[in-house]
Symmetry: C2
Amino acid sequence: MKKQQLKIVKIGGNIIDDEVVLKEFLSSFAQLKGPKILVHGGGKLATRLAEKMNIPVKMIDGRRITDAETLELITMVYAGKINKNIVAQLQANQCNTIGFSGADGNTIIAKKRPVKQIDYGFVGDIVKVEVNVINVLLINNLTISFCAISHDAKGQLLNTNADTIASELSIALSKDYEVALYYCFEKNGVLKNVEDSDSVIEEINTKQYQQLKKDGIIYEGMIPKLDNCFYALSKGVQHIKIGKAEMLFNTNTKHTTVRK
Amino acid sequence: MKKQQLKIVKIGGNIIDDEVVLKEFLSSFAQLKGPKILVHGGGKLATRLAEKMNIPVKMIDGRRITDAETLELITMVYAGKINKNIVAQLQANQCNTIGFSGADGNTIIAKKRPVKQIDYGFVGDIVKVEVNVINVLLINNLTISFCAISHDAKGQLLNTNADTIASELSIALSKDYEVALYYCFEKNGVLKNVEDSDSVIEEINTKQYQQLKKDGIIYEGMIPKLDNCFYALSKGVQHIKIGKAEMLFNTNTKHTTVRK
């Protein structure tokens, strides 16, 4: 039997940080047919609030160091403010949604990252995704909105990258569904020339990726993003697209399709 | 057919504000047999955080005035920090739980309180409880933990009293379940003499309540609490008990049973 399609959509700061853009996105997202899951990052809100509360933001190599105070802060911002506002707005668009952290329904179980050179603090590397509860909700026509928080199943919440949550959810759900994973960000996709927003690479596979990396055309932030994609494809995720959120609602929108 | 019992347990500041007490409570709550729902207030955390962020706390007649800034704050504290920590700890005790606001699953729909003498701000009076999603979760052996936030189904989150959320949930679910509603607070129940913690009134009905109010034995904070109880009983809730949380785990613990 052909598996049913499931859309898993990851959105980031360019949508979350702009109230008008977020509202418009959610109104379109609500109209998408079939089972769907939203995964959202935290945007700049956590940083802004940290300043307000005089919590110093600690970053090493572009990664936030999550001490106890910072974990408390992101739990409030991601799982509280952002997540519940997304849920309320989806409800206003007749899209019945439940907001989740990875602790809810015991869905995303992670392990606190071991301390080596760097102590990342309360950062979780995912060890297991439990699909039972997710399946119950999807079958009952409920949408799930995940924030970027996992737990260790021993009572500790952990900070986990939203891209990784989206890919690990996609991998786990690809057994039961034909998953289409959409990474939405501020660009039209993977670009040949970062200066030219029209220079979208419409399709990219592992071999081409290796070459483009070697040639220095793909670099910096795109590398972990694409590594994540190829890993997900190798683990069974059926479709992955990268681009602006418009690609979800208008098939003519340029974007990058990532293939094995 | 006899209805299945459902326990709905409301906890407040005396449990939430003390990490050790909360942990102990949740470990016992997790062991309770049968379907169950937890409803939690906000405790003193929101007030403490408001001070840290220089958000003035506005109270009129003991009621918090919820301006936009305060709503943002309590959404972070109630739905974020408190709710997700409760969920994580229940998971650690093998009690599979999902944390809810009233926006999640479109469960608690409220109307922003109309402005008369006082503008309460973003405070919601409940107009409807939707049980569909709650029933799906309970049937699947999932526990729900509600924070004291509702929504207007048009995209606006609202601040709603946790006691009221507990009683309105109980009323709506009393059609399908034999509901036992437990109001846990810092006292052993309704007391004849507030100075004497052993002077528990073990049973109270509407007639006795009227008399005790007239005699000035029941006053202040107990009045809205008991009004809430008698209202819930009149609307079909089967059992209501008031006392310390221990009453849930040890049947010998003194408490007050409220009857019609």
